[in-house]
């Protein structure tokens, strides 16, 4: 029995490990970004350079995986959304600086790390969606705590990175005590327990469960382009908050090079490709994000939402307040 078991396990071991093959010209990517978005980008890159792109799509745990793989990690490039995730990679010493004049000149200073350990590729706004039935309204994030919105606000989990980053920016602006109070009041205004995605909240507005929700800008475009979801989006206005003061909260999607990247040359080529005009246009068109490179036009649909004032708060500061933000979200029992 045992002998047979041993033979079996050895054979299967061979079968299992045969997948990790290493070809000549390639680059390995760990991506939090979804296939529909990055696959066209990578196809274009391979077409131009003949470098094959291998991808692991992940939803969570990228930093942990990298840390454990250590110096033998096959990863070259890390693609992710949310500034805190990028900064976390650097703080855990999992990435390396990339010195490239192309990257430096293409990306505005506030959108890449001073030590060149991370680079933004696109920006996105944390918008406030409001039901058209309310008429045009002008809102600040702070206003969501007002008594008159009791039972009228919908939100996804407070602990989603996009909400955590917003809370972190509130801490930067107002301090922890104010932010906790604000969170408790917003929590009290919620129409239902935080759940679902940003789009799910707009659906809830469409269902008249609530009137106001928080959501990233590109979801509005994605809903408008979806047959089923268009009716939801038609029910709301997309508002850019805090236009009379500090501006709307901005988050990014970005890229970094793994500390032990085995294919640094190819990795750098891929990073530089991602800020080239064709790549930036793809980001703008397929996912309706704001290209980070100045001069690359946003999609016509995004342009139709109008210009806005962006919060100038340093992204690094937002990342630094992340843990404090999580703690406050727990204290306010936001998700319970």
């Amino acid at each position: 029995m045992f002998k047979r078991l041993l033979t079996l396990s050895l054979t299967s071991l061979l079968l299992m490990t045969s997948d990790s093959a290493y070809a000549a010209e390639e680059v390995n990517v760990y991506s939090y970004r979804q296939p529909f978005l990055v696959e066209p980008l990578f196809n274009k890159f391979t077409e131009l350079t003949n470098i094959k792109v291998n991808v692991v799509f992940a939803k969570k745990g990228m930093a942990e995986r990298l840390a454990r793989e250590g110096k033998y990690s096959p990863a070259d490039i890390l693609l992710t959304t949310d500034i805190s995730r990028l900064v976390e990679l650097r703080d855990k010493d999992l990435v390396q600086a990339v010195n490239s004049t192309i990257l430096d000149s293409a990306i505005p200073t506030q959108y890449h790390a001073q030590d060149n350990t991370w680079f933004a590729l696109t920006t996105r706004v944390r918008n406030i969606y409001s039901a058209k039935r309310l008429g045009k309204i002008n809102l600040n994030y702070e206003d969501l705590a007002e008594e008159k919105y009791k039972g009228r606000i919908c939100s996804r989990s407070g602990k989603h990175p996009y909400n955590v980053a917003l809370v972190a920016s509130m801490i930067s602006e107002h301090g922890e005590a104010y932010t906790l109070d604000w969170l408790e009041k917003v929590k009290a205004n919620l129409a239902r327990k935080p759940q679902g995605s940003d789009r799910g909240q707009v659906q809830a507005i469409h269902q008249k469960l609530c009137d106001i929700s928080l959501g990233n800008s590109y979801y509005f475009g994605k809903m408008l382009k979806d047959d089923k979801q268009k009716v939801w989006a038609d029910e709301v206005y997309i508002n850019f908050p805090n236009q009379d003061n500090r501006g709307a909260h901005i988050n990014i999607s970005g890229v970094a090079m793994a500390k032990y990247a085995p294919n640094t040359k190819n990795a750098k080529a891929l990073m530089e490709f991602l800020v080239s005009e064709p790549a930036q246009l793809l980001y703008a068109e397929t996912n309706m994000e704001y290209p980070v490179v100045k001069g690359v036009p946003v999609s016509t649909m995004v342009a139709s939402w109008g210009d806005f004032k962006a919060d100038g708060l340093s992204l690094e500061k937002i990342a630094k307040n992340r843990k404090a933000a999580l703690t406050l979200l727990d204290k306010a029992q936001f998700d319970l």
Binding site: D19, S20, V56, F57, A58, Y72, Q195, D330
Partner: protein
């Protein structure tokens, strides 16, 4: 009892195997020791008590519902003359092929405010807004419990049905001769005899429930699993996450041991199963209620979600997705078949060891190797990286020292890690089933071949394994289907350019693109169905 084999190598190999399987659990427990007390204190003061309460309530309700569904349907099928019995007999297994998170998404779509059910009601009664009427909210703790129970009850049904069918009919007959009615004899003899099967399947259901992440997250029911995710991925504290996971595991262990203890000494052997079975003849109204109950379970746990998926595929079909689905489907099959086969081999080895060896601690390999089931997939995946990572580093260091090209992460970065994790996670299922099957073989059959001069090995191959064919198949099937559905392990450990059906479907539906994931979801269900249909045909 006389032991038939006292080989030391056998002991050694079984212990070694159990130890290897236990390593990830140990890594997790030791990792827990590095937890930051400050974070713990913060969690305890804010959210942890609520999470614990939710966890216990959820486990309690799911087990209650699953046992209710499973035992009653098993009893109806084995003890009564319900119509379409042979059809229902296997239809009741089908919900096993449905991942819980999938039916959670589908039923939410169906019963939501914008869903077809509420829309129709509004049309009929002229209601205008949510304030005009009351409608149950599925996205609650009880809703999550119902969703989980609907797809987990077949465990109870399958094991309890097996127990009923294999029961010694002489006991039932004796009870009838002593004046009990068919119903009384069922309640007083057959049901208590099925206790072990109920206990084992209930603990399987409990462990599945506690490891679930996708369903509770979608319903925003915060449980201990949520807390583990938060501490690990939110606060970035793997130590505290490990400590919480250890608490969760000890909780499960406590329940499982208590269950085992409570039925200690209960023997359930049978040498004369299913001869001239007497059945309870149902009256017309009983027939009606029994049919509604069984068909209701099949419909709610399988048919309705399947029809919804099919409608979505028809509405949103696109041909170019199909080739991608074939390759991910093959990946899923590969992983699941390998994992199920290895798991069943190990379970047999441990099962025979505890039956035949004289070692005082012969139960130990079985016991300790089952712990993995109590670890949520994500935590197990992390433990896998912590375990295999250093081994990989060590291999690479040796290679570079010897001047060879570095082999890369051949264990932690390949399918090996996924399959190892699946085996650790689902061995408890195979163990439970195999031990249950072995216990049903009378001890007289252990000694008979020996007294006829057949070697121990020969008696295993000629007597025990043939008697266990069905058990082995059931165990394999259970692990296979679970492996097809397993999500977090695959999500966290997959190598480059590797997607399985479940990872792909989950990614689509968690982005509210359920319609585009529908075809893949149907494939998961179909693959899950194949063995169930095969199993039914083989009889």
């Amino acid at each position: 009892m006389i032991a038939l084999n006292n080989s030391k190598t056998w002991t050694l190999s079984n212990y070694l195997l159990a130890l290897v399987l236990l390593i990830p659990v140990l890594v997790m427990l030791f990792g827990g020791l590095t937890a930051s007390t400050q974070l713990f204190l913060h969690l305890w003061q804010s959210v942890l008590p609520r999470y614990l309460e939710n966890t216990i309530l959820l486990g309690f309700f799911v087990v209650l519902l699953a046992v209710f569904f499973g035992v009653i349907s098993a009893a109806i099928i084995t003890q009564t003359n319900i119509l379409c019995k042979s059809l229902l007999r296997w239809l009741l297994l089908l919900p096993l092929a449905m991942p819980a998170y999938l039916i959670a998404y589908l039923y939410t779509d169906l019963f939501d405010y914008a869903g077809p059910v509420q829309r129709t009601l509004r049309d009929w009664f002229g209601w205008q807004s949510p304030n005009d009427y009351w409608f149950f909210d599925l996205r609650t703790l009880s809703g999550a419990a119902l969703m989980l129970a609907l797809v987990l009850f077949p465990y109870v049904y399958m094991l309890v049905r097996g127990a009923f069918e294999q029961q010694d009919q002489n006991l039932i007959k004796a009870s009838r001769l002593l004046g009990l009615t068919a119903k009384q004899s069922f309640l007083r003899v057959a049901l208590p005899l099925a206790r072990p099967a109920i206990g084992i399947s209930a603990s399987l259901v409990l462990m599945e429930t506690l490891a679930d992440f996708a369903t509770v997250q979608y319903f925003s029911v915060n449980t201990l699993t949520t807390a583990i995710y938060d501490t690990w991925l939110g606060y970035g504290d793997l130590g505290a996450a490990n400590a919480l996971a250890s608490v969760l595991m000890l909780l499960v262990l406590f329940v499982v041991l208590a269950e085992q203890k409570s039925r200690k000494g209960v023997r359930h052997q049978s040498s004369r199963p299913s001869i001239n079975k007497t059945v309870i003849v149902l009256t017309a109204s009983q027939q009606f209620f029994a049919s509604v109950f069984c068909w209701g379970l099949v419909a709610a746990g399988f048919l309705v979600p399947l029809v919804m998926l099919i409608i979505m595929v028809v509405d949103y079909s696109s041909v170019n997705q199909f080739s991608l689905l074939v390759s991910t489907g093959i990946n899923s099959l590969k992983v699941s078949v390998i994992a199920a086969t290895i798991t069943v081999f190990i379970a047999l080895s441990f099962g025979f060891y505890q039956r035949f060896h004289a070692n005082k601690f012969r139960h130990l390999p079985l016991r300790i190797s089952g712990f993995g089931y109590a670890i949520p997939g994500t935590v197990l995946a992390m433990a896998m990286l912590s375990t295999l990572g250093p081994v990989d580093h060590w291999l690479n260091d040796i290679a570079s020292y010897a001047g060879l090209t570095s082999p890369g992460l051949i264990l932690s970065g390949s399918l090996f890690a996924i399959i190892f994790a699946l085996v650790v996670r689902f061995l408890a299922i195979a163990n439970g089933t195999v031990v249950n099957g072995i216990n049903l073989i009378p001890h007289s059959l252990d000694y008979a071949p020996a007294s006829l001069g057949v070697s121990f090995k020969g008696s295993l191959i000629k007597v025990h394994i043939p008697l266990l064919t069905k058990t082995i198949f059931v165990a394999w099937l259970l692990v296979f289907v679970e492996a097809m559905k397993e999500l977090p392990v695959v999500l966290l450990l997959r190598p480059f350019n590797f997607e399985t059906l479940s990872s792909q479907v989950y990614q689509l539906i968690s982005d509210e693109m359920l319609e585009q994931g529908a075809l893949g979801a149907i494939l998961i269900v179909i693959f899950g169905l194949l063995p169930i249909v095969l199993l039914n045909k083989s009889k």
